[in-house]
Symmetry: C2
Subunit: 138 residues, 2 copies
DNA sequence: TTCCATTTTTATAATGATTATAATTTGTAT
DNA sequence: ATACAAATTATAATCATTATAAAAATGGAA
């Protein structure tokens, strides 16, 4: 349980942190800090963007979420910490989980003396929805 | 030849562009825009950082270089446009070419309707030099 | 060559996501 | 209740990158 993990790390379960956790839980939309902020602001009017950043930092450090840097200069966050690829649709900008191949990579891995502890795979292209659209229009 | 490619794109071979190309050619150090700027500035005192950015943008668009986003918020550039992985040493911050597995990925590739045109693989860990060092110290 | 239009370069300002700061609030343990 | 520590907040600062506009360089036509 993620709450217990936070406790173990000596972190308090503030309403803000719980709310952010709730947004992230099972979320496959890969929200940015601002996405999360905007989603919660109506319900938590006092919420600060800085708190969202702080919490995401804490969660990432605790390995409870994964940071994705696939789109522009923004960070996106994924509660699924299992290694898996990510796909950016260059047409609509959406980000999706995608595993193209099941990689035979078990970390830590030593390759020519380079010790690999972690890896990320990013795919770029067109998502099914945008592909459908362009097929109909074209 | 990269020069011919630029010509074909209707781009002029200015001294600045040629200098930047020369820095990149065969360079495996994955320099950032600022790295390139600092390296050239003594020889080209009038050179502007904006020109370096412009040229890198032009080269990337022309698919003559590859953009790497593995380290912090900075972009790094690789003249090797063949698909290959990159490794970031979390100790010293150096970036290296690294192919852990020869991926059976040929683009374009259709996976569940997602059309993959391009992909990037980033590895994170400790490079051989830093590993040696910590072994001696530890 | 000279002139003109276009491209490129340059210095600088603007942008925008993220981080730092400092004051205030909240939580916890005694 | 009190005091100490942690978290939140508003805001300022940072820093890589992009935009802007003026100046310089280039290339082609006359």
């Amino acid at each position: 349980m993620i709450k217990e993990k936070l406790r173990r790390l000596g972190l308090q379960l503030s309403p803000q942190r719980l709310a952010i956790l709730k947004v992230l839980e099972g979320n496959t939309r890969h929200p940015s800090a601002e996405d999360i902020y905007k989603q919660l602001k109506p319900e938590y009017p006092s919420l600060s963007l800085a708190t969202v950043y702080n919490t995401l930092e804490v969660l990432a450090r605790a390995q409870e979420i994964q940071v994705i840097r696939i789109k522009g200069d923004k960070r996106h966050f994924d509660p699924n910490t299992k290694p898996h690829g990510h796909f950016l649709c260059r047409v609509c900008g959406s980000i999706h989980d995608l595993d193209v191949v099941s990689l035979p990579i078990k970390t830590p891995l030593n390759v020519n003396g380079y010790v690999v502890e972690e890896y990320k795979i990013y795919f770029y292209g067109t998502c099914p929805v945008c592909r459908e659209k362009s097929a109909k229009e074209g």
